[in-house]
């Protein structure tokens, strides 16, 4: 549905986007992830025809945005980083303006009413946009993108600056829209993509560093799994036992102690489920296992590793330190 190939964009000497290629299938919700200034907005602006690429091409449903801009733009609904709203218009006026601007052919009243229902702006229809709250403005921005029922929806950081309740609402809305549209969602908020997207493309310094299904991404980066186990027993012996259990790559005490148990951090080798062997080993040695939690890598870790591989070890250490001494860890985390 969307195809970007070897796209580059230079601002003077600076390469904002450097030879990136990816494609989005029909009906997919793609998360476009990257730190601020990574080139997300530039890519989306090229894709929507607002900017032109230095080289490479962007196609929507096979139509090149540069060669047939009007046809391609008709297939796109775009919510830029800052919603393009005219403060001196009412919501209804604005929607009608966008309807005409996009040359929409659907029955006007019904279509605008439906959109109003979906994004829940019907109750502010008569209010001036400048008087709306940020959440409503964002929704009017989304509503504008939906006019004409375009095949591809592109949202550039749609939840920025919203409160947690609004964020969840907007996310649910995007999920809902994803059922009938191809969606590209740019963000630098990790849980957001985890919650909403089928696939994640990560961009950093103008280059793509990962392009994976959301669920595969964790494994793609690091197959090891981490567990935090609470075990009753003498520390040194337990630790020795843990280290000698098959499939365990790394084990160490964590600082946390309850009255009778100690917490341990255990890392397995790649793609090995060590929970059962662990249980039996501990049972045989009669060290009761009273708690076992998965401490899986989350996107945050993955992200840090991908965008800055040198930091990988540092992050690793920090994690362990943080687990051992939560308070001290927080402080060192702040420093970095």
């Amino acid at each position: 549905m969307v195809e970007i190939s070897h796209l580059s964009k230079n601002y003077g000497d600076k390469k904002a986007v450097n030879d990136i290629s990816f494609s989005v299938e029909e009906g997919e919700i793609m998360g476009f992830l990257g730190p601020n200034g990574a080139g997300k907005s530039t890519t989306l602006n090229i894709l929507t025809g607002f900017l032109s690429a230095t080289s490479g091409s962007a196609k929507i449903d096979g139509i090149d945005i540069l060669e047939q801009p009007l046809e391609a733009k008709r297939l796109i609904g775009f919510l830029p980083e800052i919603p393009p709203l005219y403060p001196d218009m009412t919501v209804a006026e604005y929607m009608n303006f966008c309807y005409e601007l996009k040359g929409c052919k659907l029955p006007r009243k019904q279509h605008l009413h439906e959109i109003g229902e979906v994004v829940k702006i019907a109750d502010v229809n008569k209010r001036l946009i400048k008087n709306l709250s940020k959440g409503y403005r964002q929704r009017v921005g989304i509503a504008q993108a939906l006019i004409g029922n375009p095949k591809v929806l592109i949202f550039d950081e749609p939840t920025i600056g919203l409160d947690p309740k609004q964020i969840i609402e907007i996310r649910n809305l995007i999920k809902h829209l994803g059922k009938n549209h191809t969606v590209i969602l740019s963000t630098h908020i990790l849980p957001e993509v985890q919650a909403v997207c089928d696939r994640i493309v990560i961009i950093n310094k103008g280059r793509i560093v990962a392009n994976e299904k959301t669920e595969n991404l964790v494994n793609a980066v690091d197959g090891t799994r981490r567990l935090v186990a609470k075990i009753v027993g003498p520390e040194e012996q337990v630790l020795q036992l843990l280290r000698s259990t098959q499939g365990v790559k790394f084990a160490d005490k964590l600082g946390r102690r309850d009255t009778d148990s100690v917490s341990y951090l255990i890392e397995s080798q790649e793609n090995v489920d060590i929970r059962k062997p662990l249980f039996y080993a501990l049972a045989r040695a009669s060290y009761p296992l009273i708690g076992l939690e998965g401490d899986e890598l989350n996107l945050e870790d993955i992200f840090m590793r991908l965008v800055d591989p040198q930091k990988k070890e540092k992050t690793e250490k920090r994690r362990r330190n943080a687990s051992q001494a939560p308070e001290a860890g927080k402080r060192s985390g702040e420093k970095q």
Binding site: G49, F50, S52, L70, K73, R74, F78, P80, E100, L101
Partner: protein, 240 residues
Amino acid sequence: MTAIYKRELRSYFITPIGYIFAGMFLAVSGLLFSWLVLSADNSGAYSYAKISNYFVYLLFVFSVLIPLLTMKLLSEEKKQKTEQLLLTSPVSLTGVVIAKYLAALTIFAATLLINSLNYILLYIYGNPNAAVILSNILGLFLIGASFIAIGLFLSSVTENQLIAAVSSIAVIVALLLISLLADTIEKEFFRVILKWFSVIDRYAPFTLGYFDIPAIIYFVSFTAVFLFLTVRVYEKRRWS
């Protein structure tokens, strides 16, 4: 394109700018008109000259008022980030620029038309030359149209309305004053060039009731060049 045109037209009357423009234009031109008519004497030829003066004075009124119409046309879109909506909609860049231009031109033409009601009074008290009046109105329209194109262009290069307005006033006044400057220049070569650019010199035939085709072509192409440059400003920004 019609959507942009309609929105722009409407915004002139949501904000006070449309009213200020029309009000100031009609008030100042009415004042000038009555002053010149009252001070005219009965010798026919002389009063024609007076009427011609009136039209030249109006040009200076334009220099201040037309930038009012054009200053926010494109600069505000940039500031509000709404240009992203316009430029990612299925409307061509030329379409956007022309729609904006026509909106300003419509307000200007409507005000000019209302202002023309003044001349009807002349028929009650005398027998003015209709050709002089009509050609003057046409001349004013063409000059206004080119000034709007200048204003639109300058509005596209900044996101600050005030800068757009002040620079437009400066450019328009400079264009009006070129002919005064040209008269004082000794070198034939520079004088001819400056005269060629001088708006007032181009306008002179209209004040005499003469529909000067080259001048019409001059103003139309003047407008076209600035509209083209405005489109280029956007093209360039897209590619850089």
